[in-house]
């Protein structure tokens, strides 16, 4: 049995109509927390550096260990600048680290002769480093450019669109909302965005994800969500433009030292506490295999639990503490721009194949334009499935954002942090809560996933070949000679039909969502899937040959798109 809302979402999926644009819930940009943060950027950098230092002092309690930590950070930073230099690195940064290194050597000599070293330990240099990191991380949100970007994005897409579909040159019918469709608990999420802070937790398959989500959130009328974007992405002009203006803060993946990571976490915690709606990719990086996230990175997620506890601890008497809501989000693409490099990377990581993998960097501007071109001219679409919102403990919420338990009884979530009536900080307890939240989000991903025609046919085709060549391992299968990759069309249709019935039953049980093509006529389903799966890649993951049978030109890609339906235990049906 599924709920009334689930039924509505199901029907909406079947209708396949363009998504609505919603009224902004906070019409004045000046009222957005993210705008306010930018206004006080300088003060915030100081607050962030102070808070990070406090936190680090809590984790490392002895000056001797602090000094060791410092030496390690300086060493790592100097190595990074030498061996992994990027255009974004500044000259000041290099000078700073070289100078710090020299200072540290001098200091180590002084310390030896200083019996009062621990007492007089000077945290000044830590403060300096943390402030530098703080300034780097904090993004800029610009009111004017946000307005411009949110208009420019559909405008430039529309221009492209009208140029490509010449038969509709004069029609203004195509809108971005035709192609980027939003489904799910939208009214509930809009409502909760007024009542508390929203943390969007999406699946991650492409570098375009964050821009798409930024746009989708804009369409839902919710103030901009902030998200961490890799520093390397800012070097791409198109992406950089949108990133820096739509509320991104910067993450440098090269910096794996503790001081940096703690600053990053503190940033996330402080901004969530300030009520900035945020977005984390809980999987950490893009899914290399194409599968829905199976393991989640819990670092940033943990800061949300911490923020919730601090909201309670710091709440003024007679004032309710601000609540934080988690919203899982599944993004469904018919084709992923970086699919080839992702899957090669995945196979290489599995360690069994000697692949030469090119630099897995951001796709070039030309590639992105190509993507946009194909995207619109071939009428592909992206489906965003906004999941059922919950509190940070996986509980359901009522209209007012109150948590309710499995029996419909209200829960005071403050009590999750209580020890015999007293609100306590227990980092180990919170890390367990984080793990539980991660488990819940992962489960929700599978339920909120929308099965697309392309994923469906890729899954079936790959599994048919897998079964046919049972003796081969994965790598043998991926190297299957072309003549062995052919699946008779009739057989293909039969298996699809059988599997479709199973998926429909799963949909009725609330185990997965289906796009309108997947629940419709089988021949059309296959046709739609074939049209979409091969849309961008030069070699088709799946196509029909001259005889009308189904075959693959690129087994790696077929495997990649197939993986999307892994984890549902569907293999046994083939």
């Amino acid at each position: 049995m599924i709920t009334e809302i689930e039924q509505q979402i199901k029907e909406q999926l079947k209708q396949d109509a363009p998504s609505d644009m919603y009224e902004p819930i906070l019409p004045e940009l000046q009222d957005w927390p993210i705008y306010k943060l930018t206004q006080e950027k300088e003060e915030f950098a100081q607050v962030l550096a102070d808070a990070s230092l406090e936190h680090i002092k809590k984790l490392v309690d002895s000056p001797a260990v602090m000094e060791e930590l410092l030496a390690k950070v300086v060493y790592l930073e100097n190595i990074r600048l030498k061996q992994d230099a990027w255009k974004t690195d500044t000259k000041e940064e290099k000078e700073f680290w070289i100078a710090t290194k020299k200072m540290l050597i001098q200091r180590s000599l002084d310390i030896k002769n200083d019996p009062k070293f621990a007492e007089n330990y000077d945290y000044g240099i830590f403060r300096e480093i943390l402030e530098m990191y703080s300034r780097e991380i904090i993004g800029t949100f610009n009111e004017d450019t946000y307005r411009f970007a949110s208009k420019a994005l559909p405008f430039s897409f529309n221009r492209l669109l009208n140029a490509t579909s010449s038969w509709k040159v004069w029609s203004n019918q195509f809108k971005l909302t035709d192609r980027i469709k939003t489904f799910g608990y939208i009214d509930e999420i809009r409502n909760l965005a007024r009542k508390g802070t929203i943390v969007v937790l999406p699946t991650h398959h492409s570098n375009l994800d964050s821009i798409l989500i930024g746009w989708a959130i804009h369409c839902l009328g919710i103030p901009a969500v902030q998200y961490g974007a890799g520093l390397n992405l800012f070097s791409n002009p198109i992406m950089g433009y949108f990133f820096s203006r739509l509320g991104a803060y910067k993450i440098d993946r090269r910096k794996k030292n503790m001081l940096y990571l703690e600053t990053l976490k503190t940033y996330s915690r402080l901004t969530v506490q300030k009520g900035l709606h945020s977005l984390f990719f809980p999987g950490g990086t893009r899914s290399r295999s194409g599968q829905l996230e199976t393991k989640l990175k819990l670092g940033l997620l943990g800061t949300v639990i911490e923020a919730q506890r601090l909201n309670f601890q710091e709440a003024k008497p007679n004032q309710p503490a601000k609540k934080i809501f988690a919203v899982p989000l599944v993004i469904n693409y018919h084709f992923v721009l970086e699919a080839s490099s992702l899957i090669e990377n995945h196979l290489k990581q599995q360690g069994q194949e000697k692949y030469f993998v090119g630099r897995n960097s951001m796709p070039s501007t030309k590639k992105i334009s190509g993507f946009i071109w194909k995207f619109f001219s071939k009428q592909s679409e992206v489906l965003l499935s906004f999941g059922k919102p919950m509190d940070l403990f996986g509980n359901d919420l009522d209209e007012d954002g109150n948590s309710i338990d499995q029996h419909g009884k209200p829960i005071d979530i403050r009590s999750y942090f209580l020890a015999e009536g007293e609100l306590t900080e227990d980092l180990q307890r919170e890390s367990e809560y984080t793990r539980m939240l991660g488990d819940e989000v992962r489960k929700r991903f599978y339920r909120e996933n929308i099965v697309l025609s392309s994923h469906f046919i890729a899954f079936v085709a790959f599994e048919i070949l897998n079964k046919k060549h049972r003796r081969l391992d994965l790598y043998g299968l991926l190297r299957l000679p072309e003549e062995d990759r052919i699946i008779p069309y009739n057989q293909f249709v039969k298996v699809i039909k059988n599997m479709q019935n199973h998926l429909l039953a799963m949909e009725n049980n609330g185990q997965v969502r289906l796009s309108n093509h997947v629940s419709g006529d089988v021949e059309k389903l296959i046709q739609h899937g074939l049209q979409n799966i091969g849309i961008y890649h030069p070699k088709q993951a799946l196509k029909r040959n001259k005889e009308g049978d189904v075959t693959s030109e690129n087994m790696n890609l077929l495997y990649f798109y197939h993986n999307r339906l892994k984890g549902y235990d569907l293999e046994k049906l083939i």
Partner: protein
């Protein structure tokens, strides 16, 4: 992270184990024992004794649920596994996320697949079974849960003989609370994060207790018993690994510890069933003589159902299933166990 001002510690259930634990808790704390039936409560309170054990002065009794859950933040549920889920359901409206539960129930909750009665054995996977901590999470809003397990024969505990136990929880504060409230100079408390391992060790050992009773009933000697328990431990570990836990817990109190105590004691119900079977009684007759339920019978069915589905090598569990379900005689089973192809001595670590 220790809790301050722990006012009262709660215990649910006044069975023999529950009473023994309440008495240990009472040495450090004021203990409130919830007893469901008022007549039983009055009887215990007038006699100040329960199940042949004298009650410590620090123990109070109640059957008022709301005030019980209001005054105790740390609670030890000590009830039968068959009643465990119902208890959680019934009490869930009084339980809150700031309650901490440490249960001492050795059993599984099984959600049998459709048509299982026809299956021999029922085809079970991890999805079909829930441990008691999982039941608590499903039925209540309590997240901070733990499990108490180990070689803790109630009679010896109440006779104040030295013993040790393990508290398994994902939460350090739960382990700490267990230590804080339970330990004294005769009772040691160890901690573990492997909740599933500890819970399964406590459950699966019941199968071996029946087997051990049979060996004892046939007077097979110490060598045979040692062989049985050593190979049995391996089977328990293989099954637990298939269910998603590592085997570490099996080398601790809840594993080897509990196995040694239960299988050496002729007091346990499972052991008694085994020795009655060995003496030629039918299962029905044996249960009649015991006049109680032996958890191990049900556990054997579940364990074999799981083992078969995961294609594991568990000849002792299989043999116990066959004996209990009248599929093989004890002599035939013995012959099978002694003559089947032997694998590596230790193949599970």
């Amino acid at each position: 992270m220790t809790w301050k001002n722990l006012s009262k510690v709660g215990v649910i259930g006044a069975g023999s184990f529950g009473t023994a634990i309440a008495n240990i808790l009472a040495e450090n704390n004021t203990v409130l024992v919830y007893v469901r039936r008022l007549e039983k409560l009055k009887l215990i309170d007038t006699e100040r004794a329960c199940k042949g054990q004298k009650l410590h002065d620090n123990i109070q009794l109640t059957n008022d649920l709301p005030s019980f859950f209001e005054s105790c933040m740390l609670i030890y549920p000590m009830v039968d596994s068959t009643n465990f889920r119902d208890m959680c359901k019934a009490f869930s409206s009084y339980m809150r996320p700031d309650h901490v539960l440490i249960h001492g129930t050795k059993g599984l909750s099984v959600n049998y697949p459709v048509g299982y009665e026809e299956m021999d054995p029922p085809q079970l996977t991890r999805k079909h079974i829930n441990t008691m901590t999982e039941v608590i999470r499903q039925e209540t809003t309590v997240l901070r849960v733990g499990c108490l397990s180990g070689p803790n024969l109630a009679k010896e505990l109440s006779a104040k003989k030295p013993a040790a136990t393990v508290i398994a929880s994902r939460f350090d504060e739960v382990i700490e609370l267990g230590k804080q409230t339970l330990r004294n100079e005769r009772f040691r408390v160890y901690g573990s994060h492997d909740v599933l391992g500890v819970e399964l060790a406590g459950v699966l050992k019941n199968v071996m207790a029946i087997a051990s009773g049979i060996a004892d009933g046939l007077d097979m000697g110490h060598n045979a018993k040692a062989m049985l328990l050593t190979r049995g431990l391996g089977e328990m570990i293989r099954l637990t690994q298939a269910l998603g836990s590592d085997a570490k817990a099996f080398f601790g109190m809840a594993g080897i510890g509990d196995l040694m105590a239960t299988c050496a004691s002729n007091k346990s119900r499972n052991f008694t069933i085994g020795s009655l079977l060995a003496k030629g009684h039918s299962l029905i007759k044996a249960e009649e003589i015991l006049n109680d339920t032996a958890e191990g019978i049900r556990t054997t069915k579940i364990a074999y159902g799981l083992s078969k589905n995961y294609n594991l090598n568990t000849p002792i569990i299989e043999s116990m299933y066959n004996i209990l379900h009248d599929k093989a005689s004890i002599p035939d089973t013995l012959q099978y166990l002694m003559t089947h192809e032997s694998a590596d001595d230790v193949d599970f670590i």
